[in-house]
């Protein structure tokens, strides 16, 4: 995706979405071209299965085609709206998969629930990269290492509290309070920096 001015890019995406709501197929193709690489990467990080990520991406764009009229530019940025659609489908997929396998897999408290892939930036680094362009960086850096990693793994790889506990080898209660405290601190810091209108 070209590194255009974010505001300009948002405006372009919002315009595409508005035309998709009117069943404009060309606008839909353009929207796909502008957003699919980002959304696919988001899905792949969470579900860690290219075939499942492709299915989710297809379902998401089918849903976008049908629901573009419900996008409200006054309430959220287009990429935020699109990413939420994909993330929610990913989490639904993880949940269905867990339901399918829960009776088949013996519970092993010592083993991580998933192998975390080594390639690419680690989630905590991603958290800082994401923060790079803005004041968000300071907010992320202000978090302690454990809570920061918990937030990153949950956000970028879709780990649940139980999976975080297993992966980070911490009691579930510790994980829950890390996540809660980190979110509270992020909120205060981000809102203080004027990042949420």
């Amino acid at each position: 995706m070209p590194a255009a001015d974010p505001a300009e890019r948002s405006a372009r995406l919002a315009a595409s979405l508005a035309r998709v709501a009117l069943a404009d197929q060309r606008a839909f193709a353009a929207l796909y071209g502008q957003t699919s690489a980002h959304l696919y990467a988001v899905a792949l990080r969470i579900v860690r299965d290219p075939a499942a990520a492709e299915d989710i991406l297809q379902e998401a764009y089918v849903s976008i085609w049908h629901n573009a009229g419900r996008y409200d530019a006054a309430k959220s940025q287009p990429i935020t709206w699109l990413t939420a659609i994909v993330r929610n489908r990913c989490l639904d997929h993880l949940r269905r998969r867990d339901l399918d396998t829960v009776t088949l897999t013996p519970i092993d408290d010592d083993a991580p629930a998933y192998d975390i892939p080594d390639e690419g930036p680690a989630p905590p680094d991603l958290l800082l990269q994401g923060a790079d362009a803005s004041a968000v960086r300071a907010c992320v850096e202000a978090l302690e290492a454990g809570p920061r990693q918990a937030i990153a793994l949950a956000f970028f790889q879709g780990l649940s509290h139980a999976e975080l506990a297993s992966h980070m080898r911490q009691p579930l209660g510790t994980i829950k309070s890390w996540v809660r405290r980190a979110l509270e601190r992020l909120k205060r810091c981000l809102d203080g920096a004027g990042l949420v209108r």
Binding site: A41, P121, F156
Partner: protein, 237 residues
């Protein structure tokens, strides 16, 4: 749900945060999603959190999905107009074929094996294309003598297109739409007739591709199904 009441504000915010982060799971997630749909205060709390976390999501480096994702979307929605055309010119513009870089590595490997298989394996001036999928496994090998008007297709893996489907072979010129070379006949080694001698017919064609089409081939003259295999045209002359 009384989550919107002021005294519940803090709890609402926690739930919204965990919803956006993704750690709110199972029935609790479903309940929250239902509340979002019926209660604008709940919806706004969730949107605020999605917005906060979106600044972070922007860091994920993009990965171009395989072309079949777009063709699948278009097929599911039954869009046969501009979206297909636009989609087509769009993937060409973006160099969608770059996703197959690994495959061309496999092709180069397969090619060296082919050359090692002894004298006579590549008679005279020959053109060879090893077609492979995104998993880099060679699937078909196309060969043609430079001065002959026929391309020989040899399947390497057992890949039947399935009932009511056919494989179609495409020439991919640089910066122009794919040109059909015809449907690949089923079963074993197949011969695809060319309009002129291969040296001429494929002179400005850097790559070939195979797509999955309805029986009889693409009804539109452009690939409509997923592109399964691609390969670089190697010239030995």
């Amino acid at each position: 749900m009384d989550l919107a009441h002021p005294e519940r504000r803090e709890r609402l915010d926690q739930l919204a945060a965990e919803y956006a982060l993704g750690t709110l799971r199972g029935r609790a997630r479903d309940r929250f999603a239902r509340a979002m749909r019926s209660d604008p205060v709940v919806a706004e709390a969730a949107r605020d959190w999605e917005r906060r976390l979106a600044a972070l999501a922007a860091a994920v480096p993009g990965i171009t999905p395989a072309p079949r994702v777009w063709t699948g979307i278009v097929t599911r929605l039954g869009l046969h107009g501009a979206a297909e055309e636009a989609g087509l010119s769009w993937w060409q513009r973006l160099g969608f074929w770059r996703g197959f870089a690994l495959a061309s590595f496999a092709a180069a490997l397969a090619l060296s094996v082919l050359q090692l298989s002894g004298p006579g394996a590549l008679p005279g001036e020959t053109l060879v294309v090893v077609l492979a999928g995104p998993d880099a496994r060679p699937a078909m090998i196309a060969t043609a003598a430079r001065n002959e008007r026929v391309l020989t297709m040899k399947p390497v893996i057992d890949a039947d297109p399935g009932p009511g489907r056919a494989y179609e072979l495409w020439a991919l010129p640089d910066g122009a739409a794919p040109q059909s070379l015809g449907v690949i006949p089923r079963g074993g080694v197949a011969r695809i007739p060319l309009r002129s001698a291969s040296g001429e017919a494929l002179a400005r064609i850097p790559q070939l591709a195979v797509s999955l089409e309805p029986a009889g081939g693409s009804p539109t003259g452009a690939p409509t199904g997923p592109v399964l295999f691609t390969g670089r045209v190697e010239r030995f002359y």
